[in-house]
Every structure is written in structure tokens, then in C-alpha cells.
């Protein structure tokens, strides 16, 4: 059986610092959301937390990438999809 061609992107990834900035970012978003709710309850204020608007890059315009793009757009985020193919055609796992 032919070996699965693990991508060469795997090897040059040196020194990833954990948690990564992506993970920290998500954690902060989560914590801020929680804090907003807590202060609203405490003060009884009318303050409405601003809807979060993220810039998101999606790599791959397959079913998963496009579905993610649609869902994220409908939640108001800015979405860029990067696809290596020069045109969209049927691809897939057989």
C-alpha cells in the first residue's frame, strides 16, 4: 500500500508556542462574553455587548470550507476563502 503523503507543511512548523495566539484569542472572546453577561446582571444596565465581527480565513473551498464560510457570513463575520485550484470543479474522496 502506498504510504499516505503526509504534507511537508508538517515538518517546517518549528517552535509552536502553546497555547497559540488563535487559542488565546478564542479564550479571550469567550471570557469577554462571560464578563459582559455578568456585569449586565450586576448593574441591571442596558449595555448591549457589541456583536463580534471577526476576520476569518478559510483554507479550502470544498464542502467543509464553503459550509463554514456560509455559516460564518450569516453570523456577520468577514470571510475569505483560499482555494488552490484555479477553478471550482468536482473533487472528492472516493
Amino acid at each position: 500500500m502506498k504510504a499516505v503523503p503526509r504534507c511537508d507543511l508538517l515538518t517546517p512548523q518549528q517552535n509552536v508556542i502553546y497555547p497559540t495566539n488563535s487559542l488565546n484569542f478564542l479564550k479571550n472572546v469567550h471570557n469577554q462574553g462571560g464578563a459582559h453577561e455578568a456585569s449586565n446582571v450586576r448593574n441591571g444596565s442596558e449595555k448591549v455587548s457589541k456583536p463580534l465581527r471577526l476576520n476569518v480565513i478559510i483554507v479550502g473551498a470544498g464542502l467543509g470550507g464553503l459550509a463554514s464560510a456560509v455559516a460564518l457570513r450569516l453570523h456577520g463575520h468577514e470571510v475569505t476563502v483560499l482555494e488552490q485550484a484555479p477553478a471550482l470543479a468536482e473533487v472528492g474522496i472516493d
Partner: protein, 133 residues
């Protein structure tokens, strides 16, 4: 002579998934492009006798408030593509990602362009693509 050729994969979309897709505004397109199976029949290997049946017809649809679809992969892809375009997704073809930087976070394209974002979703498949973080 009858020739059987492969035309690609079919994808099953049960109601828990189709309900989401309907929420995304894909209902009319899916209704038009998908197959609406009436039932799934289990048969004995020896003689083809039906030994089990799951009705996935209209009753099933009303019970789960969403249909059971079977759709060709290419049709499903085109439907998602059309909806993404409609919603103003910035789709860039011919843009091959050469490297990920999880700490930035950023991606580097083949032509050397570096793109950063708040969040990067690696939807580039399970064989080639982004390492796990």
C-alpha cells in the same frame, strides 16, 4: 451493451443536517437538486427478501421537521458555492497556502503573500494540509 460508469459520490443528508442547511437558506435549491428517497430497505443477501424498512418519506419529513436528502457531491458543492457568493464571501481561486503560522495567526501563499486574520479555519482536507494544533 450496458456500461456502468462512476459519476462521483452521493452524499446523504439526514434531517439533523438538512435543518441546518434550511436555516442557511438552501432549502429551495436542495429541494430542486436532491433526491428524496421514500424508504431505506434492508435486504437479505441470499434472496433479496426485504427484512427491514425505514420510511424516510413525507411522514418522516413532518416528524423531524426536515427532509432526508440524497445528493450528488457536485450539486451540493455548487449549492454551497452559490450561497457563499450570494453572501459576499471573498473566494480567491488559485491561492495555494504553503505554510501556516499558528502564532500569528497567518497563512503564507505560494506567491509569498502573507495573510493574517483573527481566526484561520483549515478546511483543506485530511490528507494534505494544516498540521494539528
Amino acid at each position: 451493451m450496458l456500461t456502468v460508469i462512476k459519476v462521483g459520490a452521493g452524499i446523504q443528508i439526514p434531517p439533523n443536517s438538512s435543518r441546518l442547511l434550511h436555516d442557511w437558506g438552501l432549502g429551495p435549491r436542495l429541494d430542486a437538486a436532491a433526491v428524496h428517497p421514500g424508504a431505506m430497505i434492508l435486504r437479505r443477501w441470499e434472496d433479496g427478501k426485504a427484512i427491514g424498512l425505514t420510511d424516510v418519506g413525507p411522514k418522516f419529513r413532518s416528524m423531524f421537521h426536515a427532509p432526508y436528502y440524497v445528493i450528488h457531491r457536485a450539486n451540493f458543492h455548487e449549492i454551497l458555492h452559490a450561497r457563499a457568493r450570494e453572501l459576499g464571501v471573498d473566494l480567491r481561486l488559485g491561492s495555494k497556502v504553503e505554510a501556516y503560522d499558528a502564532n500569528a495567526p497567518s497563512v503564507t501563499l505560494e506567491d509569498g503573500q502573507v495573510l493574517t486574520a483573527d481566526l484561520i479555519v483549515a478546511a483543506d482536507g485530511e490528507i494534505v494540509g494544516c498540521p494539528e494544533y
